[in-house]
């Protein structure tokens, strides 16, 4: 049964990449499919956080410890570089979130809604001066 053993090893070595792919796609799905502007941002956060997990998991060494020097020469340290990159990426993420939320506040103030469908209807009205068939905006 060498083949099956090999497959199990392969699966054990890759399962968490697959998990993160599933999470990423959930996040991306929320971002592209939802009409609520706030929920889109939440989806974007999920997507980004899952990418962070992918990065961090590639830096892990089984049996390693956090990359803080212990003084013991035999210690195996996990890779510090992905940690540094993701620290930067988290900061970029929160910066994007803050800006996006500020935009949402302004949109809600000026248009009175944070739903994409309503906004599209209003913009259609602005462009053509008539309501789109199939329901009025608020």
């Amino acid at each position: 049964m060498p083949d099956i053993v090999l497959d199990l090893d392969f699966a054990l070595g890759h399962y968490n990449y697959w998990m993160f792919v599933i999470l990423m796609m959930t996040g991306l799905y929320v971002t592209v499919s939802r009409g609520n502007l706030i929920k889109k941002i939440v989806g974007l956060n999920l997507f980004q956080t899952s990418v962070f997990m992918l990065y961090i998991s590639m830096g892990k060494i089984i049996g390693g410890t956090a990359p803080i020097l212990t003084g013991d020469p035999d210690t195996v340290y996990s890779n510090p570089l992905p940690h540094v990159l993701i620290l930067t990426a988290i900061v970029v993420g929160i910066a994007t979130t803050a800006l996006a939320l500020a935009l949402v506040i302004r949109i809600s103030e000026t248009l009175g809604t944070v739903e994409e469908d309503d906004i599209l209807k209003m913009e259609h009205e602005m462009d053509f001066g008539v309501r789109k068939p199939g329901g009025g905006s608020r």
Binding site: F10, M19, K39, T49, I56, G63, I90, V104, E109
Partner: protein
């Protein structure tokens, strides 16, 4: 080694199950208040995952930012806007297609990735050991992440500080300088 790997796998899969449940709940719930709270939970769960993956600095940051500041800002936004999502009206065909294609591409890409946790992956052989060896000699700072962050790749961190500063400038440009306004900030100044 294999037992080690299995142990990690069990914890990981447990955390992962929670993460997926949270993500699906976020997808389905329409009460935005709950969604924001669950997003905070998601961040906390991912922070614990980071701890199991030896990334303590990242875990700390994710907990402080994802579950802390980001939740506060989201709640602040909800207070100014709405708390209920409308039922989505449009078709989900295209988003599903996009996600399936992107997901399939990612899975395809993972097939040739080095196995998780293996010490002989290229990622652990090139630049990373240099950081681990040189940090005590060059800087005398025990936390390698700090040394890389602030010195070896200090320029990235300057960029990161600039990004945060940009966010502040952007928010101030959009919402005003924070002096309480009497009228609406609708832009007819």
């Amino acid at each position: 080694m294999s037992a080690d790997l299995l142990g990690i796998a069990i914890i990981d899969i447990l955390l992962f199950t929670f993460l997926v449940v949270t993500a699906i709940a976020i997808m389905h719930l329409r009460n935005l208040f709950a969604v924001v709270m669950l997003a905070g939970v998601f961040s906390l769960l991912s922070a614990s995952l980071f701890v199991t993956l030896d990334a303590v600095d990242v875990a700390f940051t994710e907990a402080a930012v994802g579950a802390g500041i980001s939740t506060v800002l989201m709640l602040g936004t909800l207070a100014l806007t709405v708390r209920e999502e409308k039922k989505p009206a449009h078709s989900v065909f295209l988003p599903v297609l996009v996600c399936l294609v992107a997901g399939a591409a990612l899975i395809y890409g993972t097939l040739d990735m080095p196995a998780f946790g293996s010490a002989d992956a290229p990622i652990h052989l090139h630049v990373a050991p240099a950081y681990i060896e040189r940090t005590p000699i060059d800087t005398g700072v025990p936390n390698i992440v700090t040394a890389v962050l602030a010195s070896y790749r200090g320029y990235d961190t300057l960029g990161e500080t600039a990004v945060i500063f940009t966010a502040a400038i952007a928010v101030l440009l959009l919402l005003g300088a924070g002096i309480r306004q009497s009228g609406k900030d609708g832009g007819k100044e």
